[in-house]
Symmetry: C2
Subunit: 280 residues, 2 copies
């Protein structure tokens, strides 16, 4: 496994591989890798001849008052994770390599980006779409791997690839969880011990929603109210949003039908956690 820091080096490796007729998988990450990322890398390594992992904390997807500066970083540990999970190349660029002076372009989307995380994080998905477009152009993968945990991000990337005719397949992978159900996230390290215990309420509320759905409940308000009741019973948790939307375009659903997405974000102290259940 090799680590490179420039776009040109990635292009060179990818072109050598292409000449040999090898297929390429890409796993875009912001580093501080956990088992969720490792499952993406393993999946890519199983489905492609070569796997590129990008590790880049993308400034463009952070808001002014968000945690860009304090976002956790540990490149040496990430390197080991990548190696063990079967990556062939790490792309670990500087912000200057990705955003040279007089950088004016962006990729963005309306409708899908407006609800859920989009409403509280203006410009977030513009940053995601722009950096992912760049990575797609640099690594030219056959397949790109994203976690279902960021359900809106996954839907946005799928839409972007379809709308803009990127010639690649977006593969969504199941959320990896802790023993008690909490979705793995780099931001979980921010939680105090009490917050960590309280955080399980997010998964519990989604599991309850899943049960209601499977029992035939089709009214989004009924499910949302039940989830709100549960999360409010946990004093450390504060609801950011609970949304029940159609699974492709993320528009509010009057009646729940497959595919439907139930997505929620809660704050525990200063830490905002997201999770979801995709009914499909």
């Amino acid at each position: 496994m090799e680590t490179v820091t420039t776009k040109q080096e990635v292009r060179n490796r990818v072109k050598e591989w292409r000449k040999q007729g090898l297929s390429i998988g890409l796993v875009p990450t912001m580093g501080f890798l956990h088992e969720g990322h490792e499952s993406l890398i393993r999946r890519s390594a199983a489905e492609n001849d070569r796997t590129v992992v990008s590790i880049f904390v993308n400034p463009m997807q952070f808001g002014k008052n968000e945690d860009l500066e304090t976002y956790p970083r540990d490149f040496q540990r990430d390197k080991k994770s990548c190696e063990q999970a079967g990556a062939d190349l790490i792309f670990h660029p500087s912000p200057e390599e990705m955003y040279p002076p007089r950088f004016y372009s962006y990729v963005d989307m309306d409708t899908i980006t407006e609800g859920l995380c989009g409403s509280g994080r203006p410009g977030h998905f513009r940053g995601v779409c722009t950096v992912v477009s760049k990575l797609f152009h640099i690594a030219a993968p056959d397949r790109a791997y994203f976690g279902q945990k960021d359900a809106q991000q996954l839907a946005v990337i799928k839409k972007m690839v379809r709308d803009l005719d990127f010639d690649l397949e977006v593969v969504g992978c199941p959320t990896v969880r802790e023993a008690d159900g909490l979705a793995k996230s780099s931001r979980n390290t921010y939680l105090s011990e009490e917050e960590r215990k309280a955080s399980v309420i997010l998964h519990k509320a989604l599991a309850r929603a899943e049960t209601l759905l499977h029992q035939g409940e089709k009214d989004p308000e009924t499910i949302k109210n039940e989830m709100m009741r549960m999360i409010r019973s946990e004093p450390l948790a504060q609801i950011d949003y609970i949304e029940l939307v159609d699974g492709e375009n993320l528009q509010p659903a009057a009646v729940l039908e497959k595919p439907a997405l139930i997505a929620a974000a809660v704050k525990l102290g200063k830490t905002r956690l997201i999770d979801n259940y995709m009914w499909e």
Copy 2:
């Protein structure tokens, strides 16, 4: 030469060519081809093994009160032009093929798109960047050819390719002109006989600016005033804008230095014509 109407057919042809190790040039057009377009196709055919010409009047780059419905079209004549100029494949899609239902994505840019044609045509360059990104993904060219006549479009596409890391070369080609100096344009067919005669003032004013520059004049205001005086002497011509900007980022220049762009748009009756001089 072959004509296809679906993205998949273009991809199939391009992949066959790639397998044979052939290089590919792309000439994106809105059709109603004139000698300007033909010069782009000839240049592409000379520099690449295969040349794809797209003919698509892109709704997304027209404003609400612009000439989308009346934009001139003549596919049979265009086909002959492409064949004679050395194209191998015409991509002639429907609007539905390019913009399927629930299309939400776009590519856009700030700064460069704000002055010149951008200020009078909000959303125009978003439409251009989006459709050109799509065409780049569909045809996967080594080189793409654009006319210098649309100087702002050329600068925008160059910036987009650099910023978003498209792996291709943008080739700008010289403006082709009528005998009296009028830049060739599909919209020239809109001009009445008198307007056609009057239209030469645009080129004359730019030629005068070029002379002043070569005589050492570095003050943008002096050159602009002289151009305004000339164009105002032609009663049928109405100035839309005259701008003297730096040639890469199209920002106003206090003192003219290479590369500098002098760009102007005038209206003759209802027809808006653009032209420019790039000092480099």
